[in-house]
Amino acid sequence: MEHSVETTIIVNGATVRRRIPARLHLIDFLREELGLTGSHVGCEHGVCGACTLRVDGRMVRGCLMLAVQADGKRVDTIEGLSDSGELAELQQAFHVRNALQCGFCTPGMLMAAHDLVRNKPEATREQIRAHMSGNYCRCTGYHAIIDAVETVLAAHRKGGMQT
């Protein structure tokens, strides 16, 4: 039985091929093997949302997926979405609305918010709250984060921002 597996993952568009220990979480592979430390590790059991990633276009927890499970899949991290400019409006809105303080939760918050902007652009404030409920923030008290997401969604509806 193999305790490590030859694995190919497309990380932010680049193909990475490594032999990966089976027990290694996707988030730890990205952070420790690839140096992509933008996504954070918080609770390690799916509660806090700091490790939120996108795998094959869907938002997932990086601590509840093994790196070997990502074989053949496309993984997008905060670095990839930030560099591509996809997150620019949200980053700007978070800055303007003071939606971060220490910044630990922010990469996960941006990933979760972006998922909403892409998939549920008509979301109400209540739906924003529900969607972001899986991400803990210990600084802001959440309202500023909801404000920032709401700002981007409202601007989109007016046609003022493009994704």
């Binding site: 039985m1 027990r23 390690e44 949302g49 070997v68 409920s133």
Partner: protein, 284 residues
């Protein structure tokens, strides 16, 4: 924490799963969505020697609605159930329950069958399946069998599933057009572990309820079908005394245990509160 060491193997077909289960026996665990399994590995609550990844086995996913039932493949994700217009139309109880299952990122990965096989007494799908009198399709090398949801859950994380078997689909009979359903859950944060929850369905004819089914989560070692509370409402026109009688009967039906957040007494109180709300919704 990090998961303990284990081997990993990917199965590509059902026969391959059966072979691997036969080879590795009790040390093997099936890895589907992994949203409970990996958390329990990270917490070192479980130490399998090998994980058999079944997520790429074809044919185990998807929702099929026929005249009498809905069939949900075991690997169908919570998010797929949540987003399905067929489910919303045919089995509104599932659509009502889905948003309570953890958080969006977890619903994207976690699977319906995984939740059933895990048999967490605080999980949403097991309670829904008990309320809806679902059947589970279970396959092994020697063939296929079906078991009722009401017989499947035997204890805390304990089911009728044998070590050589795989849960492949969930079959849920369609309720008639006069049925109403309600799913209610109390949690400390939206999407967190439910303290107490209730999957409820009944036939409503001008406010008179029949074929009432109340299945609780977080109120015992398994999903709990509240037979006495159901009987207290059966065939009655809903009124405050009927609700009170049903809520009172829960003392015979439920067996919640206290935890660090809520005592057993609190949970019983919350179950009664949810009963009142659910019955009111069913009779509306």
């Amino acid at each position: 924490m990090k998961a303990p060491p284990f081997a990993y193997v990917r199965a590509n077909s059902l026969p391959e799963i059966f072979e691997l289960l036969a080879t590795h026996g009790d040390g093997a665990k099936l890895l589907a969505g992994g949203q409970s399994l990996l958390a329990s590995l990270n917490l070192r609550l479980s130490t399998p020697t090998v994980l058999i990844d079944i997520t790429r086995v074809p044919g185990l996913s998807g929702i099929a609605v026929s005249r009498a039932q809905v069939r949900i493949g075991a690997l169908t994700t919570h998010a797929e159930v949540e987003a399905s217009p067929e489910i919303a139309a045919a089995l509104p109880l599932l659509a009502q329950a889905a948003p309570h299952i953890a958080h969006a990122a977890i619903r994207n990965a976690g699977t319906f069958g995984g939740s059933i096989a895990m048999a967490d007494p605080a999980a949403e799908w097991p309670a829904c399946c008990v309320a809806l009198d679902a059947a589970f399709v279970i396959e092994s090398k020697t063939g296929s069998r079906k078991t009722s949801a009401r017989k499947f859950f035997q204890g805390l994380y304990t089911t009728d599933l044998q070590p050589n078997e795989v849960l492949t689909a969930i079959e849920i009979p369609l309720p008639g057009p006069q049925y109403r359903s309600a799913f209610l859950e109390l949690a400390r944060r939206r999407g967190d572990y439910g303290i107490v929850g209730l999957a409820a369905i009944a036939k409503n004819i001008n406010g008179t309820l029949s074929d009432v089914r109340l299945a609780f989560l977080g109120a015992g070692q398994t999903p709990m079908l509240a037979r006495m509370a159901m009987a207290a409402v059966e065939g009655k026109h809903l009124s405050p005394p009927v609700i009170a009688a049903s809520a009172q009967a829960l003392a015979h039906d439920l067996d919640p245990s206290g935890d660090i957040y809520s005592t057993a007494v609190t949970k019983m109180h919350l179950a009664r509160v949810l009963t009142g709300r659910a019955l009111t919704a069913l009779a509306a």
